[in-house]
């Protein structure tokens, strides 16, 4: 379950690849928390290559988004053309709490706002 990040000034782009079910979430949990811990105030999480997003994966996103917000930062989600992930996020209402974008530039702008 690959997870990696790239920094650009005040923004960190975290990319997650693969299946975010319970096993996948367990595999990245510690790294995800460390990467979104506030080293950069603006974080975009790229879910465009996530093949499967379970409620446990969403739980991870919420936990880290809340922690980042508590430190004065902001997290947004980039889903690209990933309809499955978008539908799952919308069905839980999470997309209204952690903004979700199909366009990476808009996701970055929102995180930096």
């Amino acid at each position: 379950m690959p997870i990696d990040f790239k920094d650009n000034n005040n923004l960190r782009l975290i990319t997650i690849d693969g299946r975010l079910d319970s096993a996948g979430s367990d595999a990245i949990s510690t790294k995800f928390s460390a990467m979104s811990s506030g080293a950069k105030p603006a974080v975009v999480v790229d879910l465009s290559r996530v093949s499967f997003l379970s409620s446990i994966g969403i739980r991870l996103i919420i936990q880290n988004a809340k922690a980042l917000q508590g430190k004065g930062g902001k997290m947004t989600l980039f889903i690209g053309g990933n309809e499955q992930v978008g539908t799952t996020l919308e069905s839980t209402g999470i997309s209204s709490l952690v903004p979700m974008f199909s366009d990476l530039v808009l996701a970055e702008q929102a995180a930096l706002a």
């Binding site: 079910d21 319970s22 096993a23 499967f52 379970s54 409620s55 446990i56 969403i58 739980r59 991870l60 919420i62 936990q63 988004a65 809340k66 917000q69 309809e83 499955q84 539908t87 799952t88 069905s91 839980t92 209402g93 999470i94 209204s96 709490l97 952690v98």
Partner: protein, 138 residues
């Protein structure tokens, strides 16, 4: 109809997902619909593993997949049967949506996913077992 059995164990949930993918393909279920089924099945199995209690692990969790066609309507239905604590997720209230990230709690979203993605949900408790059927139109 296709059948599969697994232990109520976190480590076996992916095996169930792989069975579902193979079986959906055998029954010519479109890949995007199979993904929706996978989503629902994962949530239901994790609910059993995490909240089913000790009785859930006393017997295998049993899965079945069937294609139902009536008139122009066609659906793929998956039934999950377990011996865990009786839980009727059809009547269980979905968690109220948080209005802000501050008040959002990380858990309790599985039910929203199941109800949001499936076109039909049915539950009964019979012979000491939960039977939950979820279906999507194909």
């Amino acid at each position: 109809m296709a059948l599969f059995a697994l232990k109520a164990d976190r480590a076996e949930v992916r095996a169930a997902s792989e069975w579902l993918e193979r079986t959906a393909h055998q029954f010519d279920v479109p890949a995007n619909k199979a993904l929706v089924l996978d989503q629902c099945l994962d949530e239901i199995l994790m609910n059993i593993v995490m909240h089913g209690g000790s009785s859930a692990s006393q017997t295998p969790v049993e899965l079945s997949l069937a294609i139902n066609a009536t008139g122009l309507n066609k659906e793929v239905a998956v039934t999950v049967s377990d011996s865990g604590i009786p839980f009727n997720c059809v009547e269980a209230p979905s968690k109220a949506r948080a209005s802000s990230l501050e008040e959002a709690e990380p858990g309790g979203l599985g039910l929203a996913i199941i109800k949001g993605l499936s076109s039909r949900l049915a539950y009964e408790f019979r012979g000491g077992r939960n039977f939950l059927t979820f279906a999507i139109q194909i």
